[in-house]
Amino acid sequence: MIPYNFDYEKPSSFSEAISIYEKWEVDGKNPIYYCGGTEIITMARMDQIQTKGVIDIKGMPECLDFGWEKDQLVIGAAIPLAKLEEEKAFPLLSRVCNRIADHTSRCKITIGGNITGKINYREAVLPLLVADATCVIASKTGMKQIPIHDVFDGKVQIQPPEFLLQVRVERKMTTLPYLSEKRTKIDRIGYPVVSLAAIHAEDGIRIAFSGLCTDPFRSLSVEEELNNRSQSLESKVQSAIEKISVPILDDHHASSAYRKFILSNLLVDIIKEFDEVSE
């Protein structure tokens, strides 16, 4: 049971949502945008998040869009992970979504919620990082499209009342060879010790990680080492790991040394598999 109550609105347009947000902020309600809501409900139940105003964004058509618009795949923020998993419009995203939580939960968890949530792993962002996706942000002046690399720096850097409406991915990115791997401490369902998503683009391997460090990331310097043809397989993997500029996690899921061990093996496998595909 959530130990406090809140106002709830489900606006049908993003401009209405922003108006409600601004009003409730003035009223001191500490409003939050609500999409799948799984994280908000579980945190609210434990009194880890306080709000007196919940704005459900599942009522606006842009958030429910899913499909091709010319050569772009449009994914509304309110699309559940289970739908992305099943539709396979972007196979790498489908595969990554398949390993987030469990199927029934994925019927509720949305891509917008997963990416913008408080939980550190945010694995749904990995395919979007390697695919150079575009974020569509709702703002007071209308919708604006911003490259994901300008919006996502470990966490989504969107300042309310603005919020994420959609993500868009170029068709060519959805057809490239891809690989995704996830390792957990024990079971198939669980938080990642290491989770990675990779594509083989014209410029080489692109790869993004979750579970390895505090926040998900894609690193061009790591990719540069993985794509360095002058080094042996083992050397390029070692160099790539050395290029990770933030501390590798050392927690109850796995030690830092174990994470590096797992990562090293996964990177070797991925390079070998991509080499086979390109031969």
């Binding site: 959530i2 106002d7 489900k10 579980t42 139940r45 029934t104 939960s105 509720k108």
Partner: protein, 151 residues
Amino acid sequence: MNRQIHLNINGEEKSVYIRNADTLLTALREQLGLTGAKPGCENGDCGACTVIIEGMPQKSCIMLAVEGIGKQITTIEGLNNTPIQQAFLEKWAFQCGYCTSGFIMNCHALMEKHPDAEDVVVENWLQSNICRCTSYQEIKEAIHSVLSKNS
């Protein structure tokens, strides 16, 4: 402050008085007396509270009741002698029974959406529910007995 909302549950329009912060699980059990959905972890982990919303399984502990407005909600009370219920009986796919309604709702949604589901699909869906009595083998047999009849 409570408010009145209307929910379509098992094909009937129901009027309920809830707080906006109430979960669907709370509304079902405490307002409507539909106690088939069980409170287990109340954290979205165990699946004992699974209901079907618009044909898909949902954990009613991680859904606000107000989100159910305008949706077709089915609880275990809305199922009547379905093939998967019969199969659970025939295969003894339960022990204490606390998780059973959640399992059946998930299985029923699976059968409706994928009447010829392959093993990989069954496993993917059924990983959402936990049985502390570990009746997993019997539950698997129950599912396969329905699937084999479908095929």
